[in-house]
Every structure is written in C-alpha cells, then in structure tokens.
C-alpha cells in the first residue's frame, strides 16, 4: 500500500517536499510501519522521527493503529509553537 504523508515545518524543509509517498508492505499498514517507511525513503528525516508522531485524520494515533487507504496521514514533529 502506498501512503502519502504530509510534512510540515523543519521536516518539510529537511525533505524538500510538503508530502512524501511511501510504500508500506505490511497488510494492514500500521503507523509504526509508515514511520519506518519514511525513515527508509528519506534518511534526512531519520534523526527527527524518534520524537515525531503520526496523525491520522487530524488525531494522534498509537503505533499499532492501522491506516486505511482513504486516511489523511501527517507527520507531526519538531513542533515550535508559542
């Protein structure tokens, strides 16, 4: 399954794109698997991923949350509000 992950802030700058399509072979795909796929697809994101979380449909999810093909997935990391 291909999952498109939205990127923001410094992570978008590191990757040079605002979204990244990653291939996840696990069926069903989980949040953890998507993070691993991101690490493989874009090594420049690697160091920031340990402190990042995935949001699915605008809500933080657990590592074992399954991802459906119609879900909106976003990488939330290196936040700097305030």
């Amino acid at each position: 399954m291909t999952v498109t992950v939205l990127l923001f802030g410094p992570q978008a700058t590191l990757a040079g794109v605002r979204e990244l399509a990653v291939r996840v072979d696990d069926e069903p795909a989980t949040a953890d698997a998507v993070l691993a796929a991101l690490r493989d697809a874009e090594p420049r994101l690697g160091p920031s991923l340990a402190a990042s979380r995935l949001a699915v449909n605008h809500a933080f999810v657990a590592p074992d949350q399954t991802i459906a093909p119609t879900d909106e997935v976003a990488l939330i990391g290196m936040v700097s509000g305030g």
């Binding site: 939205l6 923001f8 802030g9 410094p10 700058t13 949001a55 605008h58 809500a59 976003a74 939330i76 290196m78 936040v79 700097s80 509000g81 305030g82």
Partner: protein
C-alpha cells in the same frame, strides 16, 4: 466548575490584547510571545508560522481544557498567529483567569511547556539577507 476556553488562530501578528478578566477572578495573567530579533546567532526579520487545521485548534482546545481543569482556572484564552509575524510583533498570547495568582502562574508555565512539545504548530525563520 467548567472554565471558559477560547482558541483563536489568526493570520499575521496578533492585535493588541482586549480581553478582560472573568468576573470574580482574583488573578488575570497574560503572557505574550514576541518574535525575537535573532535566531541561532543570525539576524531574523520575521517568523512564518504554520498550522495543521483543524488538528491545531483541536489540540490547543484539548490542552487548554486539561490545564484549566488541573489548575482550577476560571478562564483560558489561547491566541496564535499563522503566517508572517515580523520581529517585535506578537505571535502568541495566553490569558488565564483564576481565583488566586499561584494557579494562574503555574498554569501558564505548564500550558506553554506542553504546547511546545505536542501541538502541531511550526515556525519557519526568515533571515535578513547579506
């Protein structure tokens, strides 16, 4: 007692504060975050803020509600900019009302610490050229 919780995300620098303390409050603490003139030793001209709506507002509301409950606040108002905010302008304002000052001051510190760890908001630096 349920606190009055308000979240406002707006484009550009925040306007001057005009909120007033909740009726009966003995403490009204207003914190403003101002864009500094330098970042990592370089001269800054502005910060450009990004949000991921509606998740940003939802997370701010959840955090504000939790802090209000934990500290027994009467009211909490969170204002945050998106888009460009120049040096010296206000990009963030947190206003809290409580019966006494101790809980208001502690709530402000807790809210900001948590916001900086978890809420989907990002700042991108715009540096002076040359």
């Amino acid at each position: 007692m349920n606190a009055d919780v308000q979240i406002v995300i707006s484009e550009g620098p925040l306007p001057s504060a005009d909120a007033t303390p909740a009726t009966g409050a003995g403490a009204w603490v207003v914190f403003e975050g101002v864009v500094r003139p330098e970042e990592s030793g370089r001269v800054l001209t502005a910060l450009v803020y990004e949000a991921y709506e509606p998740m940003t507002t939802r997370e701010l509301k959840h955090l504000a509600g939790r802090v209000a409950a934990d500290f027994g606040l009467m009211a909490i108002c969170v204002e945050h900019s998106v888009g460009r905010v120049a040096v010296g302008e206000v990009s963030f304002r947190l206003s809290v009302a409580s019966a006494h000052r101790a809980e208001a001051l502690a709530a402000v510190a807790e809210f900001i610490d948590a916001m900086k760890r978890t809420v989907p908001l990002w700042k991108n630096a715009e540096f002076a050229s040359g």
